[in-house]
């Protein structure tokens, strides 16, 4: 009885999964991008974090010219598949066609973190973890086997430098992604104020698809830093965190 339930469940999963995938694609292919978006958003809301779902959602938003929302989803897809050229190309295209000029990250931490964009955070962390564990094993051998120390000195020094480098990059990447997460403007134009409130003066405006890093939050206002160094407060409704 119990096995039959499991078999039935697996059968349902195997049957439903391809059917679900077709619903979004069908809507998209028929030009019903709003429905495709709704469908993919629902799947994400149920906890499915799949490269293709984010990418397809980005494609659907692109078809509607909503560059900000499209960019958000391409970025999320890229986090899961950092070596996917198609995603990178779509991000580059949107950065080119949006009104705000794209300027590369200027901060030191951001630049150090950008060295590792070939890897996703999970891959980078796994690599760092392997090297970290290997480093500790080497250190234990170095500490325990006194007779091997002379032989191990130089390999251990080189390995320490490599491990230190990878750990630094990993730390910068995780810090940047968690403490200063990327955010994208998703409304046609958003005013950036000099302080956290409507009573402050508007310093400049950002357009749909503009990117910045979130520094802090105060009620409904978020302090962002643009890649060209400009700082300001923006309404939280106007942006979406990656």
């Amino acid at each position: 009885m119990r096995y039959s339930r499991v078999v039935l469940y697996l059968f349902c999963v195997l049957c439903i999964a391809p059917i679900q995938a077709d619903v979004g694609r069908d809507a998209y292919d028929s030009g019903d991008y709003a429905n495709a978006i709704e469908y993919y958003e629902k799947r994400i809301a149920t906890g499915e974090h799949h490269v293709a779902i984010y990418f397809n959602l980005g494609q659907a938003y692109s078809q509607l010219g909503q560059w900000g929302n499209a960019l958000v989803n391409y970025h999320r897809a890229q986090r899961l598949a950092p070596r996917d050229n198609e995603i990178a190309q779509r991000i580059a295209t949107i950065r080119a066609i949006r009104p705000d000029l794209y300027v590369g990250e200027q901060g030191l931490l951001e630049q150090v973190a950008s060295i590792s964009t070939f890897f996703s955070i999970a891959e980078l962390e796994a690599l760092a973890l392997i090297l970290w564990s290997g480093g500790w094993i080497g250190f234990i051998i170095f500490w325990h086997k006194i007779s091997w120390r002379a032989r191990l000195r130089y390999p251990f020094a080189i390995a320490s430098v490599i491990i230190g480098f990878v750990l630094t990059i990993t730390f910068c990447r995780i810090y940047i992604e968690t403490a200063r997460p990327l955010a994208v403007v998703i409304i046609p134009t958003a005013s950036v104020m000099s302080g956290a409130g409507d009573e402050y003066f508007a310093m400049f405006t950002l357009s749909d698809g503009a990117e910045g890093r979130i520094l802090e939050q105060h009620r409904q206002w978020i302090k962002i830093e643009l890649t060209d160094g400009r700082l300001g407060w923006i309404d939280r409704q106007a942006i979406v965190q990656i």
């Binding site: 999963v13 195997l14 999964a17 391809p18 679900q20 995938a21 979004g24 694609r25 998209y28 292919d29 974090h49 799949h50 490269v51 293709a52 779902i53 990418f55 397809n56 494609q59 692109s62 078809q63 899961l80 198609e86 190309q89 580059a92 295209t93 080119a96 066609i97 949006r98 009104p99 705000d100 000029l101 999970a122 962390e125 796994a126 973890l129 970290w132 564990s133 480093g135 500790w136 094993i137 250190f139 234990i140 500490w143 325990h144």
Partner: protein, 436 residues
């Protein structure tokens, strides 16, 4: 060319009446480098003031109504001796440009000196400045967009060799020179209408120390709609040179590049996106392995292993040390007991030496036979690093050995020697270093 340092320098110096007597503490002067500029021509408005102090002195510029106000900078800030008096001299320059032709009046500048306990606040004011702004000559070329000054133009193209259809590239025009660059508008790009051309915000770099010329960069992101050999024709742009009083036309070279077909082998790109261009990815069920966050504990595994090994090692050493201490104590107690039970009459150097050797043997947990004078010397040199203790032992045993040669019938105070040996054993225990 610093033409604005130019032709007609005129100085309007306005001093209060008493300043000529040399008694006044503050002076203010203003001048421009050209009183008959052309419309849009950059002129430098200099405000220089002399003061006995630098603090509490605030120059105030006029409003420059009818002028474009550009960059400002400090020309100098130094100390000068004038008429045997020391003055702090500071000159600030503002670059301005008249926006229409005709007669202009620049309102007076002023210098506010705040008061203190010795004097009241004072305001020094200059006279207004009169300028006669000339109109630009009428024969302007079609590529003239209002820039007045002395400029150069260059273009950058990225990538310079080839690109894939649908990939945007950046085309950049840099205009550099003297003149109000903030008023310079981008040149017209004579590109096919079917190309997507997205103008980016211009980047203005003001002149500064070491960089006498300002620059303005205009950027466009361009997406070409067709694969094959493509060309960007020369960009033509004109400006009016007020020094030569003529229009100058500049152009860029022709840029040629190859556009490769898109990854889907398209040779023509529709400006409206199509499903083929924005194709979807297949969603493969269960292709993602969700591990969760528990594996972050992996960061702690190897350090934990190391610290456990370190702990185990420390405990092991501590245990061995305890055992050695206990053995040492037992050896000392046993040696002291042996010394105590020695009858005064039966004390001989041989017995004393044997007791000491037995003490060393007990301490090292070896049999008495293994302990020789040679091994005792070695052990002492390795384990006791207090030279005075070693020398005391050596002198005591040379003393003990010498007892073997005392003449028959002579008496000797053995009790004192035993007490000294007992004391030495206690001292030896205190200074003994255990190699575990």
């Amino acid at each position: 060319m610093m033409y604005w340092l130019g032709l007609f320098m005129i100085m309007f110096t306005i001093f209060p009446q008493q300043s000529f007597s040399g008694d006044d503490d503050y002076f203010l002067e203003i001048f421009v480098d050209n009183v008959t500029p052309f419309v849009g021509e950059q002129i430098a408005y200099h405000l220089r003031y002399y003061g006995e102090t630098q603090t509490g002195v605030f120059p105030q510029f006029p409003s420059f109504e009818g002028f474009w106000i550009g960059d400002s900078y400090e020309a100098f800030n130094q100390i000068q001796i004038i008429g045997e008096r020391q003055f702090f001299v500071r000159e600030v320059v503002i670059l301005i440009a008249p926006l229409r032709d005709g007669e202009y009046t620049i309102m007076p500048a002023s210098l506010v000196v705040t008061g203190d306990v010795f004097r009241s606040a004072q305001v020094y004011e200059t006279n207004p400045l009169q300028l006669q702004v000339r109109p630009l000559p009428p024969d302007a070329p079609t590529s003239f967009l209002g820039a007045v000054g002395d400029f150069t133009m260059s273009a950058n193209f990225d990538p310079s060799v080839s690109l894939t259809l649908g990939t945007p590239f950046t085309f950049e025009i840099i205009i550099q020179g003297t003149g109000i660059l903030e008023l310079v508008t981008p040149p017209h790009l004579n590109l096919p209408d079917s190309w997507q051309i997205i103008a980016q915000p211009a980047i203005y770099t003001a002149p500064s120390i070491g960089i006498p010329l300002g620059s303005k960069r205009f950027r466009w992101r361009i997406i070409v709609d067709e694969a094959g050999r493509q060309t960007i024709p020369p960009i033509i742009w004109s400006y009016f040179d007020p020094y030569r009083q003529m229009y100058i036309t500049l152009d860029t070279p022709i840029f040629s590049f190859n556009v490769l077909p898109s990854p889907s082998n398209e040779i023509r790109l529709n400006t409206t996106y199509q499903t083929d261009y924005l194709r979807l990815k297949p969603i493969e069920p269960a292709s993602q392995i969700v591990i969760g966050d528990w594996w972050h504990l992996g960061w702690l595994i190897m350090p934990s292993v190391f610290f456990l090994m370190l702990l185990q090692n420390t405990l092991h050493h501590r245990n061995k040390h305890k055992v050695a201490l206990r053995r040492s104590k037992t050896a000392r107690m046993r040696a002291l007991k042996r010394l105590q039970i020695l009858e005064t009459s039966s004390i001989t150097p041989t017995k004393l030496t044997a007791i000491f050797y037995a003490y060393i043997a007990d301490k090292l947990n070896v049999s008495n036979k293994q302990v020789t004078s040679q091994s005792v010397t070695t052990v002492l040199s390795q384990s006791v690093h207090h030279a005075d203790v070693i020398s005391q032992i050596q002198s005591l045993f040379s003393h003990i050995n010498s007892m073997a040669y005392i003449p028959e019938g002579a008496s000797y105070n053995f009790v004192e020697v035993v007490e000294e040996l007992s004391g030495l054993l206690i001292q030896l225990d205190k200074t003994w270093e255990y190699h575990i």
